[in-house]
């Protein structure tokens, strides 16, 4: 099998495993919905800056919770089995793609519920949705690699948090700036710089993950 087929098979495996249990997806969706409700109960009404920032913070914690489980199944004998039949590059690529799709699903659900409960304040919805799309992919690329590292360190949730927060902060700053511009009604043309930085960081992160994961994987 070449790399592409391996990636496809691995993603298919992840989707099937997820679909059989539905535990992860349901629990994380419930987590998002209840967090939004807790925020609504405590804030009642918010201004635009808080509205935007709060959404990203909810999404950040949901993403950390969802992604930290990425490599929970790939331990012990099963890891050895994968190691003997597929290339490590295929594994990390498949995980990144699967996590991106999961994050897009998660964040769009969160956005719909958030908009229903708090009144929507985004003037330029298209740019805001673009920010969410880019944000989901960025969270997935960064957290997948960090989850791989923290899985090797014994899947400790504290380790996951301290390793990923400093790495995600630059992305989060750019995302919040971009979405704040969307809230104020800025168009895509005026936000090119932010979008370009996000894309560049994503490409660099994916490239480094592809380079480093083979070392991480080999025990």
């Amino acid at each position: 099998m070449n790399l592409l087929e391996q990636v496809k098979t691995l993603i298919y495996k992840d989707v099937v495993l997820e679909w059989r249990s539905k535990y992860a997806i349901n629990s994380i969706l419930l987590y998002v919905v209840s967090t939004v409700f807790v925020c609504y109960q405590s804030f009642k009404s918010v201004d635009t800056i808080v509205w935007n920032t709060l959404f990203w913070i909810i999404l950040l914690f949901a993403a950390i919770n969802a992604m930290s489980r990425s490599f929970i199944q790939e331990t012990g004998p099963r890891q050895l089995y994968y190691y003997s039949i597929v290339s490590p590059k295929a594994i990390i690529l498949a995980k990144i793609i699967y996590n991106s799709v999961l994050m897009i699903l998660l964040s769009s659900t969160a956005f719909i519920i958030y908009n229903l409960i708090f009144n929507s304040q985004a003037e330029n919805l298209a740019v805001y949705c673009l920010a969410i799309l880019l944000g989901s992919i960025s969270f997935a690329t960064v957290f997948t690699m960090v989850a791989g590292i923290s899985a090797k360190a014994g899947n400790n949730s504290t380790i996951m948090a301290i390793l990923s927060f400093p790495v995600i902060i630059p992305l989060l700053i750019v995302l919040i700036t971009l979405s704040q511009n969307a809230v104020n009604g800025g168009s895509i043309a005026t936000n090119w710089a932010d979008i370009a930085v996000l894309l560049a960081i994503n490409i660099v992160t994916i490239a480094i993950s592809l380079l480093l994961f083979p070392y991480l994987w080999r025990d």
Partner: protein, 220 residues
Amino acid sequence: MRKRWWKILGVVMVASTIIGGLLGPVPVLPILNETIRNVYFHVPMWFTMMVLYLISLVYSIKYLNTGKREYDFMAVEAVNTGIVFCACGLMTGMLWANITWGTPWTNDPQLNGAAIATLMYLAYLVLRNALEEEQKRAKISAIYNIFAFPIMIVLIYILPKMNDSLHPGSGGNSTFGDLDMDNYMRPVFYTAVIGWILIGCWIATLRYRIRIIEDKRNSF
């Protein structure tokens, strides 16, 4: 003597910039006044930190390629020393900001970027403590080190240039070199930068050698 010359050079350079920097003439500028002398001490700290983190990155890559534990020792000691220089850079910067901006800390992308980059390297050290097994610790921390480096570059060099900032050299501001330094200051400044980088490397190599000795003693 053959290997020692750069250490002596570093000491001489730093000593001469301390004397030349504190006693030499500086241009008279509003707000800054005499505090412009801090440019000899604040800026070299960050250059030294960058060089040390770069050394750490190189040795992490070397470790992954060869698996020699000496490379891992060098990588971690470079980070340890880099964090000390980062702390010195933050402190001299806060002193300076307190006088020129009126407050030691402002919500400024350059300042926050530097602080978050420090958190990243502290996380690297915590990750090392979390792993018991020696080889695993060396490998996984090397991976995190390489992974974090480009993000650190974004934090310190790219983001501050995109946002509004008070800090010279970011947010469209000019650097000190362009505007405020006169022809006396420039050579002193460059001497300070090179001197502090040499001192930083010296400290890192000393710590590396201590670690090697400790390691030898523990292995018997």
